[in-house]
């Protein structure tokens, strides 16, 4: 092949593989330390008045965070949705809040020897479906539309499951003490990185990927607060943070809206 021909082929590479050329790499590490919650936080809307006698017998034990954390990257739709599993045990469920990407599935795993009947209501209050999870089986429920869904156990009204379905994002459930997210090919553009506890957004950071930049960031979750504990590495190109990054996220409460900001 002549030099001229070789140059011609090389000039075709950016045309045929533009992503390869301009995509960046993002690596996010989230570490999680389980922390205790107050009793009030785990109680239903109001105390259940079904009893006549209450006798203090033992000192209350610590209650660990019953819900899960989610890391959500908004701005990209790449990646298959991750399924979540709700373990139905006794008259309740192991967790009440789930975040799912559209087309994702909630797997309801019934560990009891009796059936569980659920009514599913969407955020407009419309009953979308009623279904039964047979004894000792797992029933999947797929979500085709965004919104918030409520699963009500027909026989045990205390047992409710809330599912929020998001679109145009990638959701990473934080299931262990450490979560590492590797996105080797991330198109240039603007993204939002959010962390949720149940449905509560406790952290948000917006950033832009420019060219083939590489970013490696670390976050630490403790007591429903998020701390950024990384050092940003720039390789080749540059990465632009659209807003000052706060390593002191606000306390658990109302979600942060907009750019990364500190809660008052």
């Amino acid at each position: 092949m002549s030099v001229k021909g070789s140059l011609g082929l090389l000039s075709l590479i950016p045309v045929c593989f533009p992503i390869m050329l301009y995509a960046g790499k993002l690596t996010v590490t989230v570490t999680y330390t389980p922390s205790a919650v107050s009793r009030e936080e785990t109680m239903p809307e109001a105390p259940i008045k079904d009893n006549y006698h209450q006798i203090s017998a033992l000192a209350p034990e610590k209650i660990w965070e019953p819900e899960g954390y989610y890391a959500v990257l908004e701005g990209t739709d790449k990646g298959a949705p991750t399924d979540e599993t709700a373990y139905l045990r006794g008259l309740s469920v192991n967790r009440n809040y789930f975040l799912l990407k559209i087309d994702g599935k909630l797997l309801l795993q019934n560990g009891e020897s009796f059936a569980r009947e659920f009514t599913v209501i969407d955020d407009t209050g419309t009953v979308t479906k009623e279904f039964i999870v047979k004894p000792n089986t797992t029933a999947p429920y797929a979500f085709m539309r965004t919104g918030t869904y409520t699963f009500i156990d027909n026989r045990n009204p205390t047992c409710k499951i809330y599912v929020k379905v998001l679109a145009a994002c990638v959701i990473f459930p934080v299931r262990g003490p450490s979560l590492r997210i590797d996105l080797p090919v991330l198109d240039p553009g603007t993204y939002s990185f959010k962390i949720y506890y149940a449905f509560r957004q406790i952290f948000q950071e917006d950033f832009s990927m420019v060219g083939d930049s590489v970013q490696d960031v670390s976050y630490r979750i403790a007591d429903r607060e998020v701390f950024r504990s990384d050092s940003t590495t720039f390789t080749g190109s540059r990465i632009l943070s659209r807003s000052p990054v706060s390593d002191r996220p606000g306390p658990a409460g109302a979600p942060n809206v907009g750019a990364s900001q500190q809660q008052p």
Partner: protein, 469 residues
């Protein structure tokens, strides 16, 4: 028996009316009393009693949970770290479960659940370390539960929390309770237990069944109870509960009927029919009894009239049921007829028999000592003897001492002349008769006095009276 039909109908109608009126009054009185009975009070007290009964049972279940937790033996194999839970010291008849700190079943005789997480009493034990009670519902049963948390030493660095649960079905808890009226116990809309089922079946049948069921459904839907009618009321009471609790809403429904069993429609119809039949039979019996006596009296009178001879009169007090008036009238008619016959001869019209007051002469019937006489041919040649009246100015008595004695002498003389025996008793009766008739004639004709004369007629003495103005 079947004669005098109209009289019988009248008597029957009269007695029926009286009985119907009395029945109506009785029914109203009964209805008045029944509707004023305060059913509600009894039901309220009973329901409070049932509530206390359940409370006590639940408290007992908590203490029983503590009791079984003390009897649980936990051993840990140091090598394999395997933990063994020994429940042999616990009564085998008890329904119990031991749970771990998450509510998952460890051991026990109650194995319907693999985990009891979500049961409010268990959650309270897990979260707050509190022993409490509550309810639990499964597919076909409702349970009262008592929950107690406790710690066990597994040889770890710290004791492990466990939870003891004891249960008893609600129907079992209520089985020893005595309730005086029919009642049902519902968990949500599921029937758990019935008190006095037989009585309830009687009430809850017939045409009101639909009404009763609708009222019960209404109560179970959370509405206030409503009375079915004035005789049947439904009362209800719900145990304090939360819709989110695991036992659902427990509701007692009581049926307060004033006439348990009698208010069934079919039976009511039967009883009303029987009552009406009994009334008709009683009325018929009384009608026959009454009309039979009347019939008999008039039949005797008719027979006597048919045997009556000329110059004879009927005995006044021989007949009953008003026939005496007829006899008196007949005798009067006979007397007038005889008198008129004497003065104007035979063939006079009936109107001529009616005397004017001025010339009135009333023939007195013979005293009741009249007895059977031998038949004798009638004659108009009887001797008339005027013996004088009771008024000394008018009458001219034979014996000035006693005008009645003179009359008696004349009377006796006529009888003896005709060969009849005269007794002293007859004199007494004769004199009494005269005095009685004198008074009655004086009042009837408004006269000052009455003069009596004795005449002989067909060999018989005839007494005639004449008002003196």
């Amino acid at each position: 028996m079947l004669g005098n039909v109209w009289l019988k109908i009248k008597v029957f109608f009269f007695i029926s009316s009286v009985l119907a009126f009395l029945s109506f009054l009785f029914f109203n009185l009964f209805d008045h009393l029944v509707t004023r009975i305060n059913f509600q009070q009894g039901a309220d007290n009973t329901f409070r009693y049932l509530e206390q009964r359940i409370k006590n049972h639940q408290y007992e279940l908590i203490t029983r949970s503590f009791d079984i937790s003390s009897k649980l033996k936990v051993t840990t194999d140091k090598k394999t770290k395997q933990v063994v839970f020994d429940t042999q010291g616990i009564d085998a008849n008890l329904l119990f479960a031991f749970l771990d700190g998450n509510g998952s079943l460890v051991t026990g005789s109650f194995r319907i659940f693999n985990s009891m997480a979500g049961v409010p009493a268990v959650d309270r034990a897990i979260r707050d370390g509190v022993a409490s009670d509550g309810m639990l519902k499964t597919e076909g049963e409702r349970y009262l539960i008592g929950v107690a948390p406790f710690n066990v030493d597994l040889g770890l660095d710290r004791p492990k929390r466990m939870i003891a649960v004891t249960l008893v079905p609600i129907r079992e808890a209520l089985s020893g309770v005595s309730v005086t009226f029919p009642a049902q116990v519902y968990a949500d809309s599921t029937l758990l237990y019935e008190f006095n089922k037989e009585s309830l079946l009687k009430i809850n049948s017939g045409e009101r069944q639909t009404q009763i069921q609708a009222a019960v459904d209404d109560i179970l839907a959370g509405n206030a109870p409503r009375p079915i009618d004035r005789w049947l009321q439904i009362s209800s009471f719900s145990l304090p509960s939360d819709i989110r609790s695991a036992g659902g809403r427990t509701t007692f429904v009581g049926f307060m009927s004033a006439l348990p069993g009698y208010d069934v429609y079919n039976k009511s119809v039967t009883y009303i029919g029987l009552y009406a039949l009994a009334t008709i039979i009683i009325t018929l019996i009384f009608t026959i009894l009454i009309t039979y006596d009347v019939d008999r009296g008039f039949k005797r009178l008719a027979a006597d009239i048919s045997r009556l001879r000329i110059g004879e009169k009927l005995v006044l007090h021989k007949y009953s049921h008003g026939a005496g008036i007829v006899v008196s009238s007949l005798n009067h008619l006979i007397g007038n007829y005889q008198k008129h016959n004497e003065s104007v001869g035979h063939g006079s019209s009936l109107s001529a028999l009616v005397p004017e007051i001025k010339d009135e002469e009333v023939e007195i019937p013979e005293p009741s000592f009249d007895k059977k006489r031998d038949p004798a041919p009638a004659t108009d040649t009887s001797k008339t003897v005027r013996t004088g009246g009771t008024d000394p100015k008018i009458a001219q008595p034979v014996d000035n001492a006693d005008p009645y004695a003179a009359l008696w002498d004349t009377y006796r003389g006529i009888k003896e002349k005709n060969g009849e025996k005269v007794t002293d008793q007859e004199k007494t009766s004769f004199l009494a008769k005269l005095k009685t008739n004198r008074v009655s004639i004086m009042s009837k004709y408004s006269c000052r006095d009455v003069s009596f004369v004795i005449e002989e007629k067909e060999g018989k003495p005839v007494i005639k009276a004449k008002p003196v103005k």
